[in-house]
């Protein structure tokens, strides 16, 4: 595997996992619909 190949791999995988991590982090920060519902019920 060449250095360019390693860079391509790291950039590609970093981009998709990084994007996913950012999105999930943001999503989990939002108040959960289900927990909000449970609170409302109780």
């Amino acid at each position: 595997m060449t250095l360019a190949g390693i860079i391509t791999m790291i950039l590609s995988i970093g981009f998709v996992w990084g994007l996913l991590a950012l999105c999930v982090r943001r999503l989990l920060r939002e108040p959960s619909h289900s927990s909000a519902r449970k609170k409302a019920k109780s």
Binding site: T2, A4, T8, I13, V16, L20
Partner: protein, 573 residues
Amino acid sequence: MPSKSDPAPAVTWNSQLGTMLAVAGSAVGFGNFLRFPGLAAQYGGGAFMIAYFSAFLLLGVPLCWVEWAIGRRSGVLGGHSCASAFMLISHSSVWKYMGIAGVLAPLGIGMYYMYLEGWTLGYCWSTATGALSLHDSAEFADFFARFTGSNADGAAYSGASPLPYFFGIAILANLYLLYRGITRGIEWFCKWSVPVLLITALVILVRVLTLGTPDATQPYRNVDQGLGYMWNPSKTVLMVEGKTVEMIPVAATEQQASQIYRRVQQDFPGKQVVREHISLIRGLMNPDLWITAAGQIFFSLSIGFGTVLTYASYVARRKDIALVSLTANAANEAVEVGLAGMMIVPAAVSLLGVAAAAGASTFGLGFNVLPEVFAAMPGGRIFGTLFFGLLFLAAVTSSISILQPTMAFLEEFWRLTRTQSVVVAGLIIIVGAFAVSWYTGEGMMALSTLDFWMGTMCLYLISALYLILFRAVWGTRNGLRELGRGASIPLPRGLGFVINWITPSILLIIFGSWLYKNIFQSTSEHIYNLLDGKPGALLPMAWMLVIYIFMTFVVHTSRRFHKRPAKHTPPTP
């Protein structure tokens, strides 16, 4: 303009995480594990990924957002299928009839998807029981032909193959999950199956990356060579009759390269071996690479299936859809690039060589090459079982989403209960899936016919309809307002411009290129099979026509959605 008093959808998802997992599960399927790695390797890693990510940002993400916005707005107004969504947003009955395509296409895809699920379940079972512990590629090809019945029409039902049992289990599992409903069926299933799928893929990935050099007599067959073949932007390959058969290792001296060349010449006596250098710049200048990458994004994200629209219609009015859509897309990409991209090609190259991984079709790679890879891999029986189990889970999360638009259609236009809808949808699917599994001769004719017309042509058309509806009928500004409602992320500046101009242009180019290649340039076998009246092509399409007429009749006679519902219409029961 939406009003504050617009009714909420009668059924909504339990949580945003559940929605995201359901949509991600819907998108993750065979294409992620079996199609993407082969294409990326074939077009030379780096150049392909540049085109791929460009298409992701300019075609995939915007089109998904368009579908989410249409879906959520439609759900708020009480419509959950493509037909009702088009009607409610356009206020025109003509669109209602055009929207039937968005219900018909996923139904047609579902017919062959069930059959393929039967394959994955059967291969999972056969690997676990040792029935797939075979020795050479001829034996694996023979197993595939016997198992799927691809030798002749009706061969799967001759009693020699257990496929009908697995096929039956797959259909029942799907119908059961649909019967349980959106939250207790689809959301519940995706909430545990998608994480299980990710963990299983990670376990297999670790196994693949620790393979090293499995056979000391074949020093160039190793993980490093596999990763290099997959990701190196520049590489030198040896080709025979246009097919890559070997890659010259980066560290090889000119003498070693000549040795490899001579060995390939001996392996293919009498045939010309061509040495070709693939480079980043040359790759980027290749229009075919850009079109292929955009096509992969299009199919990988399940754009135009009508499933995202239906799923989005169950999101509450003030909940976020922009972030959930982006997260689902990112999850799909993480599985495709981050897991499958590291797993499939390196495993095939290190155990069987470059020739096995290069140029194999989606099914060839999945059901001929990979079983052989697992048979040669230490601990392969366990990892093979896990892999085909993973494919089965990925397929089920996709197929339940594919059938949900039909369920929604039957419930809202024919006023059926969920149980009645499951029975009707089940009967439609069983008849179609039986035709697909019966007409397996001549290169799986029924499957490839449905895949061509319903799984490709219709998806391009439906996506074009989404864009026309969003831009020309609803208005991009209104659509973006809907997308931004409750959004946890700011929408990118210039998104309207991209949706108005860039995305339609890319879609037009890939659709035009597909039409040129498959309809105008070549004498398409799919058209001639129909014109020649071959039953394998004619009967599945005739069944689709019957369903289309039935759906048109139901839409025409239904009293719902004749007019745009008043703003104060009570929620649908």
